[in-house]
Amino acid sequence: MSDESTLNYVNSAAAVLGIPMDAARAGRVASHLQRTRAIAALLDGADLSVADELAEIYCPLAFKSNEYMREQL
C-alpha cells in the first residue's frame, strides 16, 4: 500500500466500522497502519504450512477424563 492507498483504506474501513475520521486523524492513523504493515510483512515471510493452526482454538467445554465418563454411566 502506498501512503495514499493506506489513507484511502483508513477512510473506507473507518466508515465501515462507524469511526468518525477527520483529515488530521486519518493521516495519523494511516501513519500507524503503514508502520504496522511493515511489521506484518515479517509474518508473510514466516514458514507456515496449512497445518499450522491458530495458537489457541475454541473449546466447547473442558475435556472430561475417562474416569469422569465412567462415573456418569
Binding site: P20, R25, A40, A46
Partner: protein, 470 residues
Amino acid sequence: MNTIVLDTAATAAQLAAGHISARELLQNCTAQIEATDARVNAFTEKTLGRALAEADAIDARRTRGETLGPLAGVPYAVKNLFDIEGVVTLAGSTVNRSHAAATADAFLVSQMAAAGAVLVGALNMDEYAYGFTTENTHYGAAHNPHDLSRIAGGSSGGSGAAVAAGQVPITLGSDTNGSIRVPASLCGVWGLKPTFGRLSRRGTYPFVYSIDHLGPMASTLGGLALTYDALQSPDPLDAGCHALEVQPVMPFMNSGIEGLRIGVLGGYFSDHASPAAREMVALAAKTLGAMDEVTWPDAALGRAAAFIITASEGGSLHLNDLRTRADEFEPLSVDRFIAGALQPADWTIKAHRVRRMYRGKINALFKDWDILLTAATPVSAPLIGTEWLDLNGTRHPARAAMGLLTQPISFAGCPVVAAPMWPANTNGMPIGVQIIAAPWREDLAFRAAQVLSRAGVAHTKPALFQTSTK
C-alpha cells in the same frame, strides 16, 4: 521507616511476634506516600479507610492469638486496572469514570487480603495499558523516584514508582508486552511476569485477552516470592487461567543453581541493548557462571506477531468508545487503537498461527536450557517526553523501543523475574535483567535470582527524589 528497605517476610514475622503493629506499618507507609507522592505521582486513589480497617483487623487477630497470613500487615497497592470493591476501575482512562464502582475485589486482591496484606490504593498507568512510559495525559506522568525528570516505565509505571519511592514494599501490575518488566527495570525494583495462565486475571480490566498476564513487583526478592506464592490459586472462572494447582517457589529459593544450564541471549537481544544494558547482562552471567550465547528463535517475528495481535484485540475491545468518545482517549495512544481496529483480519490470523509455531520453537529451546538471560530494557529511563532513541546506530520511536526486549518473551508465555541492577555509567539509573525460564518453571528463575541477590549484584536502592535535565 522508608518501606524500600522493608523486607516483607521479616516484617510479617515482626508483626506476628508483636514487635510492630499493622497500624504502625500502615502509618509509616501513608507518611511516606504523603511525603513523596506529589513528586512521584504514583497513586490515583488512596483507600485509607479500607486500609485502616484491614490493619486493625490484623492487629485484633494477633491479639486473639490467631494464626496470621504470610503477608499479615504488609501494605501494598495495585495498578488501577484491578477491581477494588467500591472504587471505579479506571484502567488509566477518563472514559471509565462513567462506569459503576466495582462490586467486588479482583481475584488477586482477594488473594492478597486472604494473606493478610493491607491495600492502600490504586496506581497510575498508561491508558488501557497501551504504553511503556506512563506519560498519562489525564492523570499526569508517573515520575521515576531515582530521577524525577525521567519516566517510570509502563504500563505499570505507578506500580514500579511506588515501590522505588518506598511508598509500599509490594505492588501488583499487569504485563502484556513488558508492562511489569519495563517499569521494574527503569525503577530498579524486583518484578515477576509469571507463566501465561498462571495467575487469574478475573476482576481486572483487560487489554489483550490472549497475552495479558498479572504479577507482583517488590522491594526485595523474598517479598516478591512470598507475594507470588500468596497470589497462586486455580480459578476455573478465568478461561485464561491454566494452572490447576499451586506450585510455591519459597521452598526452593535457596536451592542454588548447581546443575542448571544457563545461557545468555545474543543476536536480536544483544543488537537491541545499549552498552550499559549488555554490561548488566554480562555481570549477571558472570555471577551465575553462564558462558554460552544462545539464539532465541524468531525473536523479531515473535515481536511482530505480538504487536499485531495487541493492536487488533485492543482496538476491537474499545471500538464502541472509539466510535463515540475518541476525543476523550489518551492522545498518545488513541490513533494506535483506531489503527488496530482497522487492521486487516489476515494480519491478526496469521499472527496467531505464527504464535503456535513460535511456541513449539521456544519449548524446544528449553530442552537444552534452564535459564536464559537478557536485559529488560534497551536503556535506562529516558527523560519524560523523549520521542526518539538511538540504539547502536539505529533510530527507534522511544516509547515503543522500551518493549523491544520484553515483547518476544511474553509472547511465548515464559516466566521472567526482572532483577534490578545498577550500571556504572547511567547517572545512577538502573537497568533490569530478565531471568527467563520455561513455562511453569518460575522456581528456576527465582533460584537464579536468589543467587544474584545474595551476591549483591541485584538489589533495590533508596530513591533520592532528585531531578536532572541530562
